[in-house]
Amino acid sequence: MRELALFTLLVGLAVCASAQTVPATTFGASFRLKADWPAVDGASNSAQVYSTRIWDAWTTYTPTQTGGMKWADLQGSNTTPTWTDLDYKIVTQFLGSPPQGSLVITYTFGDTPLWATACNGQPDPGTCFPGPTGSGYGGGTQCKDQDAGCLPPSDINTDGTGNDAYFASFAAALIARYAGEINYYEIRNEADSDNYWCQVGGTVPCGGGNSSTTANTPSLQRLIRTAWDLKNIAHCLDPNAKILSPSVNTGKASTWFHYYNVSSISAPAGVAGVNGVPAGCNWSAQSVTGAQTYDYVNIHGRGDSTVPPSTTGNWDPDSITVAYSQIVAEIAADSLPNPSVIFNDEYGYENTDVTNIGSNLAAYEAYVSRGLIWCASLGLTQCDWYQWDSQFSYGLQSTAIGTAYDITVGWLAGATVGQCVETGTVYQCPVTKSGTTQMIAWDTSKTCNPTCTYGNYTFGSAYVSYVDLTGTSHNVGTNGTVSLGWQPILLTRAAIASPTRLFAIISSMHAKGKHEAELGY
């Protein structure tokens, strides 16, 4: 019975992901370093990037990260934040010289500064910092960022009460400064991971990261409180701004994210203001669930080694469908807000995937392209590639991988993209753009590791040509036969002749008899 229910659900998902016109803002990327700007592909063309997310972004990273954009980077002490680096990123780069004329911006909150935590002033090593000196909370592995980055602010109690002044004042200052410039705010990066927030050993299972069981007690209730305050502050200071949910990793939609959505707190009344000056908005004390703290659901829709089919890591770009199915099920199960809007503000390969993907750039071109195709086919609202200037060996800046990204976005932006259907080992995704009927296809049984393999596949005589990921056009063989492999191609079919000589007969009657009007061309 359980299997039957799951099958029914998946069928329902397939129906949801029906054909739709794909806006260009679906396609974006995050940028790691200040230097990789302007964003260009391997052909020196401006990157087809229409949205971006600010997280894991620095001005420099060698030999150590400096000029970061996270909370701890911007507010190193309990004083006014320093905006120089974020100003440069947003005002000078993203809005001052965007690759495609405009850029939709998401800012992700995360990385609590040490001064705002209960571990401030505590010995290292010590109870708060049990690992070697300077190695970070939890032995250097638990907090992904700085020593206390995954700890809660000390002015929020475990049950979500407290004044939340540290975070709220920082968030208000940031939102007021970038009102009208930042479009979306994500409350905490991957809070379902103990690298960033989740309490290992708590009642709610975490995702990813390590298995440290130290005394990290951020709690879901604390997160709900900060998210609730953030939503009220943002909607007050920038009415057009929207809040994205904590980003959900593959495999955690029905566990951690479900618990977040249904957990509740008694949130106190609040007032939005900047530097102690009220902004004219306040909200009353009330019971608040996690599901009430955001406008749109947000995932990090990549594969996961614990979730099929990526049993050996995140090497399979098609496994984004697993994350999608899981989040759609959770949206339905807990009646989450705006169910047709799903953000995916981080996806792509990771360092651990490079071994499986190999060293052939063609494999990375295929990976990036297929990720984009799935974003369009599944109807995800926004997908941000992590990262254009990747920290995982194979970046897109000035490379053929970037060219494959741009070519693929050119296929998809403004097109109507239908559901990708797998027949045997061949995926086919119907695309219509500017009145031309096309088909994207690839063969999952082939590989580009270490070299690319191909097989002949026949699409029918209606197809006359195809384009590869370099943008090169080819004629198809007899009866639409092409050499198909791991890399997607875009097939174009011959135009279908329209009917002609329409002739209309209106059947009606006036008082004196039947009247037939005949008009034809």
Partner: protein, 193 residues
């Protein structure tokens, strides 16, 4: 009685004439025929757009592609329209055909026509009353009796006429920019003076 072929043909014309006089009943319909696509297709879609001086935004009328080269748009609302067709091959679809434009659908006919007679010394006044179809923009109403137009007036729901002696059958129509509607129900009455 055995009928020869001339009698049969005459009877057929009589029957056809009766059918012609009665005509099809409201609602109206538009039947579009077209010449098939020259390529391999699995079906067709029919689109309709409002027409002013040009065709507006098209909307597909059929839920699934139809086969054959005829499509009937049943009961379109009063207005002017364009129709255009596409050919479909699987999930692929052609562009819109050249449209047929300015297809005008008249208003619905009035309903509930009734008549009352008021006696005078020499003749009776007949008062006709009817219901106008809602949501229509009309330019007038016309009263027909015994196969002739008796009077055309601005849109209304009541009309008084002096009627002559004899048996009369009357109906009323509504007119608009798109033309005259079909007839309402008819009323039959006898004037004795």
């Amino acid at each position: 009685m055995k009928l020869n072929w001339v009698t049969k043909l005459a009877l057929l014309f009589v029957l056809l004439g009766a059918a012609w006089a009665q005509g099809p009943s409201y609602p109206y319909s538009v039947t579009i025929t077209f010449t098939a696509s020259t390529g391999t297709v699995t079906g067709y879609n029919m689109y309709r757009a409002p027409y002013t001086t040009t065709c507006g935004t098209y909307a597909k009328l059929n839920t699934a592609p139809f086969t054959g080269t005829t499509y009937t748009d049943s009961n379109p609302a009063q207005g002017a329209y364009c129709y255009a067709a596409t050919a479909v091959d699987g999930t692929a679809e052609s562009g819109l055909s050249q449209p047929v434009t300015n297809i005008q659908i008249p208003p619905p006919p009035p309903s509930g026509l009734g008549v009352t007679l008021a006696q005078n010394k020499s003749a009776d006044n007949a008062t006709f009353a009817w219901k106008q179809s809602k949501g229509t923009k009309l330019s007038g109403n016309s009263l027909f009796c015994d196969g002739s137009l008796k009077k055309t007036i601005a849109p209304t729901t009541k009309l008084q006429l002096t009627v002559t002696k004899g048996l009369h059958t009357c109906d009323v129509t509504a007119s608009a920019a798109q033309g005259m509607s079909g007839p309402s129900n008819s009323v039959t009455f006898t004037e004795n003076k």
